[in-house]
Amino acid sequence: MTAKDPSENDFIEKLLGEVRFFPAKKEIEEEYSSHIEDKVRYLIIEERMTRKEALSLTMEEMGDPQKIGKSLNEVHNPFLGWALLLTKGLLIILGAFALHLLIFFSGEFLFHSTRDIGIEDDLVIAEITIDQEIQMDAVTYYFDRAVIQDDGKAFILIEAVSYTRAPRIRGFLFNSVHDDLGNSYYDLTIPYRSRIFRQDLVLRLKDIDGDAEFLALEYDRYNREFEITLPLPERSETP
């Protein structure tokens, strides 16, 4: 690149002096320098002019740099320019954070299997489809299925879905979890996997009586109530 002529420098400086959106100045400077250089080269090659002559004619043809600079403010509107820069910056920062949240949820979705909640495949004797839907306030609970193990453990898998807000269930207690023989079981339904509009919960029970034929889950809190009955399979051993 040839060094700039003082007249060219003066032109560019005057032009840039009128531009109000300073982040655009570099781009404008490069654009106009290159435009002047192209024109000068053309005149030297095609019109057989000396560089000095070509430059002088080019500067003359370019017109008043201050006028050009003022007119450029319409193209490089400072308000639009700053708004674009600001929103772009925010998009990058918040986009990265949102991506982190997405990866966090989809990562849990991809890598967190039901095995992590303690189900031992070789002990599973039955998978019972419950397929019951309970709507409470902002959340729909799908009682999906129950996994029963031969060692007296049971896992009741529940999906909590809410499309208005990401469901963040901290866990809930049934009032009573008991079998047909009158045995009561301690319960706490806890979340084990979060997705964008859904949270997977598990109710883990242990030491279920081998002679019991069904489990009853009763919820009656704060004027909301429902009951789920779950048939139990026969077991080879009783804990």
Binding site: A83, L84, L94, A98, Y222
Partner: protein, 197 residues
């Protein structure tokens, strides 16, 4: 694409991202909306708000719903938002008892362990005092004629700090009308009623 169109697209994208973050992070502009959100997710209420505390000594809403008194704890997040904490402590009023009472220890105020106490006194205008393990007395604050609430930081920031040891109730004339020792369960909680309602 001209700059105006580009700006509109960028703003639209930004709004979508912000809504996604607000949704996923449980962010609310007011403590009350955080509380109403929490209420819907624990399937409580809609309750009547009795008192809101929003300072470093404790951020919570005391609410009354049917036969329950509840405390919803919340945090401030990113300077501008409120988000519900995990604590929702509720007390079921037992009308058979003179005073229904509950104590928990919890990170109640900006990561500070507190003893948190709820009480419902059947007789109106009862003053409830708590004798603490260090010998000091704590007077619970009344929020209605019957509902009393209080909390204090555990001195050593564990649930073994200055615990409530007993509770006394005094009538309008200052006569002792109720007294109960506080014995904790394994979860360092105390109820004088059946909590599994």
């Amino acid at each position: 694409m001209n700059k105006k169109t580009k700006l509109i697209i960028q703003i639209a994208l930004l709004v979508m991202i912000v809504l996604f973050i607000i949704n996923q992070q449980e962010l609310f502009f007011t403590s009350k909306s955080a509380y109403r959100h929490m209420e819907r997710y624990i399937h409580f209420g809609p309750a009547t708000e009795l008192y809101t505390s929003d300072n470093i000594e404790g951020r919570y809403i005391l609410a009354e719903y049917d036969d329950w008194i509840a405390v919803f704890n919340f945090y401030q997040r990113y300077g501008l938002f409120y988000t519900p904490a995990s604590m929702v402590g509720e007390l079921k009023i037992d009308n058979e008892k003179d005073v229904t009472f509950r104590v928990v220890s919890y990170y109640f105020a900006d990561n500070e362990m507190h003893f948190v106490l709820w009480a419902y006194a059947k007789e109106p205008n009862t003053t409830l005092e708590v004798q603490r393990s260090d010998g000091s007395t704590f007077t619970m604050k009344s929020f209605t004629d019957h509902i009393h609430f209080g909390h204090w930081p555990s001195e050593d920031q564990t649930s073994a700090g200055i615990r409530p040891a007993s509770i006394q109730g005094y009538d309008a004339e200052g006569q002792l009308v109720y007294e109960e020792e506080i014995e904790y369960n394994n979860n360092l909680e105390f109820y004088n009623h059946n909590p599994s309602y």
